[in-house]
Symmetry: C2
Subunit: 354 residues, 2 copies
């Protein structure tokens, strides 16, 4: 066993979900990650909790969508609901051996199932929950790395000095909470938006492991100017590359992409809310050194920013509503993040960096 799984398990149990005596804990895996689940299981027992491992192989899920009739797809599995209801902590470990196994499933069926399971999902989110990922060959393939290289990538993102990282994120949150205007300057980019009165959130390592972002909700009609995203954005397994957006009074008035522009268009035109911003995030995890087409990692890459079009987070006091929330990421190695005229970051260095 990779000995780094020990520290990974400890981080999940103690820091992320804070399991304590008597807690009923669900550990969910997909295809692989049984060794990680076992380490988490033992760590939960160590503090006096009661772990249970649920495994849902990706072929089982694909089979479900292929086989289930309408009655089955629209029925809540009562035993599963009762299990979640009686739980205190839910740890979800992405561990797909193949990240494309649902590529040929009709998205309408996935959306119908999501609707059916809405109450279950709300129940899950009412618990102490955590989403993390096990390094599999499938994710390594998406990242264009060997599995061993990808394992190193994952653990250097997850096993960082979280005390130090949290300090940095809190510092940034404090500044953002006092900020009215944010200006982003970079390649083909000069965008201004307001976050006045909005709440910034220190991201992780609680709900997401790895964590490493501070995010908030822009004032919905405030964005002015243009921005170019040098990293591609993935939606339904499709990459949209070289996105450029132009905003006026918070609304996207012009857009283009070097690849898959049609998909960009259809995403932007989803509804009224998808033409406006739902999130501004600043990635702070310098343990993540590479863009890997995996939003759980990408949006936390140190010295990046991301904007999402669509739905904003209520916890950030955002009010933008939309059927989508789609993240787009930009590296800031050449550029500036300016808050109320003060340069918070320049060319990938925070003002407090040496």
């Amino acid at each position: 066993m990779d000995s780094r799984l020990y520290d990974f398990a400890k981080l999940i149990v103690h820091t992320s979900t804070k399991v304590k005596r008597g807690d009923n804990v669900i550990i969910q895996i997909i295809d692989e990650g049984q060794d990680l689940a076992t380490e988490i299981y033992k760590e939960v027992v160590h503090v006096g909790g009661h772990p249970l491992i649920i495994s849902t192989p990706s072929e089982a899920t694909r089979g479900f969508y292929e086989i289930a009739d309408d009655e089955t797809i629209t029925t809540m599995p009562k035993h599963y609901f009762n299990l979640v209801e009686a739980s205190d902590v839910i740890i979800s470990i992405r561990s797909n051996i193949n990240t494309k196994s649902l590529s040929n499933v009709n998205p309408k069926r996935i959306s119908l199932r999501s609707k059916t399971l809405k109450k279950l999902q709300e129940e899950r989110l009412s618990k102490r929950w955590c989403l993390t990922q096990y390094p599999t060959a499938g994710y390594a393939q998406d990242a264009e790395m060997s599995l061993k290289e990808y394992e190193d990538f994952v653990y250097s993102a997850i096993l960082i000095d979280w005390d130090e990282q949290i300090k940095i994120m809190k510092k940034l949150k404090e500044i953002m909470d006092e900020t009215n205007e944010v200006r982003l300057i970079g390649e083909d980019t000069d965008l201004t938006l307001s976050i006045n009165g909005r709440n910034s959130i220190v991201g992780g390592p609680t709900h997401n492991v790895p964590g490493g972002e501070v995010f908030t909700a822009p004032i919905e009609n405030s964005a002015e100017g243009e921005i170019f995203f040098d990293l591609s954005s993935v939606v339904y397994g499709n990459e949209v590359e070289g996105i450029k957006l132009t905003f006026e009074r918070g609304k996207i008035v012009d857009y283009s992409a070097n690849r898959n522009e049609k998909l960009l268009k259809s995403m932007i035109e989803t509804d009224e809310g998808s033409r406006r911003l739902g999130e501004l995030g600043i990635g702070t995890n310098r343990g993540i050194k590479k863009f890997t087409k995996n939003i759980l990692f990408d949006e936390k890459i140190g010295d990046t920013i991301h904007l999402a079009i669509g739905r904003s987070y209520k916890e950030c006091l955002g009010v933008n509503d939309s059927a989508i929330h789609w993240d787009m990421i930009k590296t800031m190695k050449i550029g500036k993040i300016i808050m109320d005229g003060f340069v918070v970051q320049e060319n990938g260095k925070f003002f407090w960096d040496a």
Copy 2:
């Protein structure tokens, strides 16, 4: 994937547990068998049921016994209980990669845990349940076969003509239900016992897959004579070989073994009930061609009988009580099973065999 898993899954879902629309189904695996669990999952969805896969790696269980303190070990996991309570069908698949992973656990802790989970176990047994096994390297090793050989062994035990097998078992049950005295004759063996008024049960493929036995509870004070078991009996991972028992008025008055006689002694001396018989079973599954030190298969080997000392089954109308129920198996390739003077089987041939 081994295509035999298809038929295996169909047998479990349709014949063994009779899953129907709306059923909440739990599929439990240990270490391996994710492919079988996935096929069962899909077959359950096919009939409109709701499957959920629970995985409990043997290292997680071993870790539990090593780590859990008394409070944890004596606490019922409420989320797990609620899950089972809301389920209709429970399919347990033994799939240990190593059948000895609990060898060094203190048996007292296992027994304490069993006591804690008694209500859970009763709840499980109140459902439609099935115990089966996936071919792993660990079980192959116990069977002294390669994994491929063992897979063939398992599937030729499980994928037999069950209609035909059930016909044979029912014929035997009908005879046994009318029988007063059973006499077993063979090598170093001439034992008489009564099953008068007791109920014989057709074993499988329902609760056990493979099935293939008809069993009942002997009248507790009826056994007279001696019997030699040519196949070894395994208890807590230890083999007892060459067991000889002598009975008078149902009670063991003399015993010996060629190996591990001390263990035999301690088993027999467990309590009052462990000195008497709790079961007479006749194995009918001729798809099982080899003794593999695995009671799920061994007791169903075609043309064997087994006796258990200790607790009898209430469904058989037995009244013997004991903390143990320990099976001992004897091949009948040379010998006779006589019921009320009628030779039901001689040298491995039923009277109806050609």
